[in-house]
Amino acid sequence: MKILVVDDESDIRTLFEQRFRKEIRNNEMQFAFAYSGDEALTYLTNLSHEAVLILSDINMPGMSGLELLKRIKQRFENPPPVVMMITAYGDQENYNQAMSMGADDFLTKPIDFSLLKDKLKSLIDDKNSGS
């Protein structure tokens, strides 16, 4: 299962690769990175057959994370990908908006990586046991 991380900050890649070095090495998790909403959509279109979990920042120039979320939910219905939103603005309004648009989860920056790791692992386990 691929995890697509969408964020305009390119160092997010280094961070994820370091944080999940063991999981990547053990092939428990595979990461892909996109630096804008458009890039993410292109990636998803090209690899629509793969089961993908998406981690997206909300605050990005150009297409925002919420817009991306809307388009993903419109375009990729079967199977609907899991989308988790990550934002620096962790207020209630933002949370409600993301959840009402179909986000599966909502995390605030700075990312609590151990929490994220647990969430990702349980999702993957669900997926594996389900399939």
Binding site: D11, L15, Q18, R19, P61, K109
Partner: protein
């Protein structure tokens, strides 16, 4: 005789009336009154007393002569002297008649006719003269009345003039007071305006703070995240050292070094933002210094964007930048020019945000900034594809306190301040706009 007595009475009455002797000449009034009574007495005696004709005749002559004398002699009656002229021929003729009758009884009969004719003439003369005199007197009186009226008019005018002068003084005092009040009000307004300008500056600082906070948050997150990663990596490395897995250890060490570089990179990034913020809030020195216009524009574009994002989370827009690298450093007051750019960006974002609310399909809010170098000047263009402006507003937008925003959302000082700042840099600021299609603000600054 009857006629002479009547004449006496008439003259006395005339003098009393015309000269107002009762008031002006009481001494003469008494005398005239006496003559009046004597004349009446003689008049009665004429009809009652038998054989008294001679007494009456000569008394009448005497009285009349006396009156003639008085009129001729006394200076008080100078004005009545024309009457003398009127009656004198008749009186003298009558006197002569009676004297002649008395002395030359023989010749009298010869003269009688001639005297009769002369008497007739004298009577006509008298009546004519008296008539003329009376007319003149009336004219004179009329004139007197007129003069009196004019005098009264003059007094009235003078008193009116006094009243007017008092009113003018009162009004002048009032006006002076009002002028002073207006002066005070003007000074208060000026100080209020200064306060407003100050608060406009503070408001823009406040908007920036949110943007700055977000700008700092991102690098700080990285610093914290990479520091955490390194802590983890170090314990892993210790593990590998114990396992004697040297290759792995080397790899971890390389990662740690890389992460350290990231930490200091993001640390410096946060540092630069804080420094920029300090520069913005620092009291304006007003000193021009060589400034990288591209860097300044980019910094404020980001700050404006994040400032708006902080207020409205759903807000999002495409930003296009096209910086002319040959622009070089331009002599400007960086804080002031930053404020101009911030204001233009804020307005541009506001315009696209308003249009985005209309939910037009396929509308992509876009704000772009372009810089360009010319021979003797540079140009900064800030363009949006927002709602634009009707042309009748264009002439007003640089006026102080003009705003299209709802009350409380704009001070109306932003563009006015910007205009003043650009003018102070010997530059100019213009706008090209089309309602519904967007606006483009062009700032031109001189470059040596």
């Amino acid at each position: 005789m009857v006629f002479e007595l009547l004449l006496t009475i008439i003259i006395v009455r005339y003098l009393k009336r015309s000269m107002k002797t009762a008031i002006n000449l009481p001494k003469w009034d008494r005398i005239f009154q006496t003559i009046f009574y004597v004349a009446i007495a003689l008049f009665i005696l004429q009809f009652v007393g038998q054989g008294m004709e001679k007494v009456v005749t000569w008394s009448s002559h005497l009285i009349l002569l006396y009156l003639v004398y008085v009129l001729y002699k006394e200076p008080e009656f100078k004005v009545a002297r024309p009457v003398l002229l009127a009656v004198a021929p008749y009186i003298l003729l009558q006197l002569f008649d009676d004297i002649a009758k008395l002395t030359n009884e023989n010749q009298y009969e010869g003269w009688k006719n001639l005297l009769g004719v002369a008497t007739g003439f004298s009577v006509v003369w008298m009546i004519t003269m008296l008539f003329i005199i009376n007319r003149q007197r009336k004219a004179l009186e009329k004139e007197k009345v007129k003069a009196k009226e004019e005098e009264e008019q003059k007094i009235k005018v003078l008193s009116l003039k006094d009243q007017l002068e008092i009113q003018v003084q009162e009004r002048t005092a009032e006006l002076t007071k009002q002028k002073e009040e207006l002066q005070t009000a003007l000074e208060e307004l000026k100080s209020t305006q200064n306060q407003l300008i100050q608060s406009e500056k503070m408001a823009s600082l406040g908007e920036l703070t949110a943007g700055i906070a977000h700008e700092i948050q991102n690098p700080l997150n990285f610093v914290n995240n990479f520091a955490d990663v390194n802590t983890e990596l170090i314990s892993e490395m210790e593990q590998e050292i114990q396992n004697g897995n040297l290759g792995e250890v080397k790899e971890i060490a390389r990662d740690i070094r890389e992460n350290e570089a990231k930490i200091s990179f993001h640390g410096r990034r946060a540092d630069a933002i804080v420094k920029g913020m300090l520069q913005h809030s620092r009291r304006n020195t007003g000193q021009k210094e060589p400034t990288d216009i591209n860097a300044l524009a980019d910094e404020y574009l980001r700050l404006a964007y994040h400032g708006l994002r902080a207020k409205d989370k759903s807000f999002n827009t495409t930003m296009k930048t096209e910086y002319d690298a040959s622009i070089g450093n331009i002599e400007v007051v960086p804080q002031d020019m930053g404020r101009v750019l911030l204001n233009l960006f804020n307005n541009a974002f506001y315009a696209v945000m308003q249009k985005a609310k209309d939910a037009i399909p396929n509308y992509e809010p876009t704000v772009s900034v372009r810089t360009k170098r010319f021979a003797d000047k540079i140009e900064i263009r800030v363009k949006d594809n927002g709602c634009g402006m009707p042309t009748d507003l264009v002439s007003k937008i640089f006026q102080p306190f003009f705003t299209t925003k709802p009350t409380g959302q704009g001070t109306g000082l932003g563009l006015s301040l910007s205009y003043d700042i650009v003018k102070a840099h010997d530059g100019d600021i213009q706008v090209e706009t089309a309602e519904g299609a967007g606006s483009e603000f062009i700032v031109r600054l001189p470059a040596e």
